[in-house]
Amino acid sequence: MNRYPLWKYIVIAVALVVGMLYTLPNFFPEVPAVQISSSKSAVKIDNALLGTIEDTLKSANIAYRGAELDSVGIKVRFNDYDTQLRAKDLLQSKLGDNYIVALNLLSSSPHWLASIGALPMYLGLDLRGGVHFLLQVDMKAALDKAADRYTTDIRSLMREKKIIYSGVGREGSNVVLRFKDSTERSKARFEIEKAFPDLQVREQDAAGGDLRLVAGLSPPAQTRIQESAVQQNITILRNRVNELGVAEPIIQQAGTDRVVVQLPGVQDTARAKDILGRTATLEIRMVNEDPGALEAAIGGSVPFGSDLLTDRNGQPILVQKQVVLTGDRISDAQSGFDPQSGEPAVHVDLDPTGARIFKEVTRDNVGKRMAILLIEKGKSEVITAPVIREEIGGGRVQISGRMSSREANDIALLMRAGALAAPMEIIEERTVGPSLGKENITKGFDSVKYGFVVLAVFICAYYMLMGVISTIALVINLMLLIAILSMLQATLTLPGMAAIALTLGMAIDANVLINERIREELRWGSTPHAAIQAGYERAWGTILDSNVTTMIAGIALFAFGTGPVKGFAVVHVLGILTSMFSAVFISRGIVALIYGGRRKLERISIGQVWQPASKATVPAKS
């Protein structure tokens, strides 16, 4: 007899209900939405803001389908894309720069589904369109930069402690000091070690009686600097992405020195690349205004401690190597206009340390010129070099001079986005346009659909009722797979959709094994009940063994794959698991439901069971 215990039916029923609930959200279409989140941690998103937004939309007569507040921010759904764009512009201008107003597509599934965590599958970039970047942080540059900072610090320490030295400079990632006198050197060594515990100082006597002191970063300090460089760059990238208004950006560290940036749904990929790709750092330095120095530099002999650069108009300008301020001292920057001249200008706010340094520098250098440099990929450009008219305190600085308001905007954005702790380089890029993403979804869906239909027709024709049961098991398998993918919020990619199709093709293997086994048992003269029993039992061991090997391949792919391939592996592995459950457990349950109750089972509807001629004496059981 093929009775199934009640508890097994309960397990099946629970699996079906849960599977259906979690598959459901995928059937609701996506609707255009606007997502509002805060760009600063101090700015809170709350019900008051929700009220403001709803009032704003109502007063502008913009129809919306509903607004809700969740952990990410506020989401407002609209009926069409035009309204969405209008609402975005309206809200952005109303709410100001403290909020990020981003376009998004949200599922229109009912609220109760989302509240039990039933969300649609998470689509990868190749399906929804967007940008993927892998950036490599230049660690050597991070260390060099740290050494630069120490050079400046050591110089002021020597001055403060009144130690006489003949020179200080950076060599690689070490700071090298030169002395005439060995007692001064010992004194310097003592002071440096006391002031900067992160430095390892050693004495070195170069040829020619030059007494040197070499200070290098200790290994733990190096690791710390590198780690914080990556972290700082991630923070800055996040700020830049915020400027873009992306709904669900992913910015993550990958390995020790890499950063992954994914911007799903970005329409204007060129602009995204432009803003992200600007691996610019900002520096403020003094202009070298020694008479004749510029001419000499143009002539080929650049004075020691200076750099010959060009400004935006291509004019040569000589600036000192010593950095007054770096971009990380900037807390905010806004474009605007000079209240006196009406020219476009950038208003910069400095943090307290930056404000103090800036005050000192401007006090000491009234009447001199100060250069603001933008450094991109090792190339420096002077954005502007204004004359300091007076001491500037309070940390509010205005930069003006020969720029358009668009340029002012760009500079403000770059300054606001901050300087990178170390330069970064894009080492991998995958950009998919939104139309291609939609096409890919259709293609993936079609592959699954058409393949499945042909497969189902064949299996039903070949195995009759048992084939129908196999097909039902396969449908359940598909549903459970989608449910698990939705539950785990695993990323679905185009190869992932191919994996769904492939998994279905492979999952049928279990049912073919079982059905062939049952036929074989019938052929050898077993009674139908015994044949079903033996068929399922014998096939189980084979199914398990064969799936384990497929699983090994899937797991290795998951471990070593990246991006779309990982998506393939996830679906593949999950599909194997669900197929074992549905092909064996559930199909057996259905068989038991149909045949289990019949005490005298004459035949099973499994198609014709062919009898070899030599066994013709056995009653035919087809």
Partner: protein, 314 residues
């Protein structure tokens, strides 16, 4: 409906030598193509930039190439049709000192200036170090999968099956690669995924046959090893063909409806599935035979379960 009406066990093993010679020849041919022509590694592994451009009308490749040539990107830059006639795929080699963002922007600007209908659909850029890593990871994954399978089969069956199965299935992998080398098809990350999936899938096939061989050793106590193997292959033949047919059906569905980016992926799967049938049934089984599998090797573990008791009976 029943397709396979085989009344007697087919004496596959009588022709084992023939099958293995055929296998060996295809295998050698694949190796020759791989070493002479080499794999046409895609941008994923070699590094470089790929830009997919849609024109909305049939692409004029002459004009497109002239526009590209003007940029001076080197002789390795190429443009070809991709899927539909209105879409072009431009491949650019790695450029020293030019970032990917700049490069693709420059190309798109030039193409747009040439024909405003050009829209960028996809850009893929892989830096040299990333390409190398992906290549290494791919090789490592292949190695790991092979190891994992050998260990699992050795534990579950016997070392002879493990060795035979992995030889038979790696031979499939090499043949797929041989096809890619011979036709100069592009070998990309999804193709690698397909190759690994094929490896797992054909081993699955070998397992089914190995399982049946083991079962037959228990049931057919008087039969010779050759007969046992023949019977195992014959009785699983129907299942083998139907299962593979079904999987192939899905793969063909991906091939025809999945679009250009899954083209080579599904092609690799299709070749793998076809050769998988052959190699598991014929190559693996004859290798097991030659490695000298015997009843004692497989039936022995059952002594603990008391089944071996009835071995003495007949």
């Amino acid at each position: 409906m029943e397709f396979f009406r085989i009344s007697r066990d087919i004496p596959f093993m009588r022709h084992a030598l023939v099958f293995n010679v055929i296998s060996l020849l295809t295998f050698i041919a694949a190796i020759v193509f791989l070493s002479v022509k080499g794999l046409n590694l895609g941008v994923d592994f070699r590094g470089g930039t790929v830009i997919e451009v849609n024109y909305g009308h049939a692409v004029d490749f002459g004009r497109l190439r002239t526009a590209l040539d003007k940029l001076g990107l080197g002789t390795e830059a190429s443009a070809q049709s991709f899927g539909a006639s209105d879409t072009a795929l431009i491949r650019l080699p790695l450029q020293q000192g030019v970032s990917s963002a700049q490069l693709s922007d420059r190309v798109m600007k030039a193409l747009k200036a040439d024909d405003p209908a050009a829209t960028q659909r996809r850009v893929e850029f892989v830096g040299p170090q990333v390409g190398k890593e992906l290549y290494q990871n791919g090789a490592l994954a292949l190695l790991l999968v092979s190891f994992g399978i050998v260990i699992y089969l050795a534990l579950r069956f016997e070392w002879r099956f493990a060795v035979a199965a992995i030889v038979a299935n790696l031979h499939d992998v090499v043949i797929i690669l041989g096809f890619f080398a011979f036709f100069h098809w592009e070998f990309s990350l999804p193709v690698l995924a397909a190759v690994l999936a094929v490896l797992g899938y054909s081993v699955n096939e070998s397992v089914v046959i190995a399982d049946r061989i083991r079962e037959n050793f228990r049931k057919m106590r008087k039969a010779t090893v050759t007969h046992v193997i023949d019977s195992a292959i014959t009785s699983t033949l129907s299942r083998t063909i139907i299962t593979h047919g079904c999987t192939l059906l899905m793969v063909l569905s991906i091939f025809f409806f999945g679009g250009e980016s899954l083209h080579y992926f599904s092609l690799a799967l299709a070749i793998g599935i076809c050769f998988g049938i052959y190699s598991s049934a014929l190559v693996m089984a004859s290798l097991v035979m030659w490695l000298g599998v015997s009843r004692e090797d497989l039936v022995r573990p059952d002594r603990n379960r008391g089944v071996a008791g009835d071995k003495i009976l007949p």
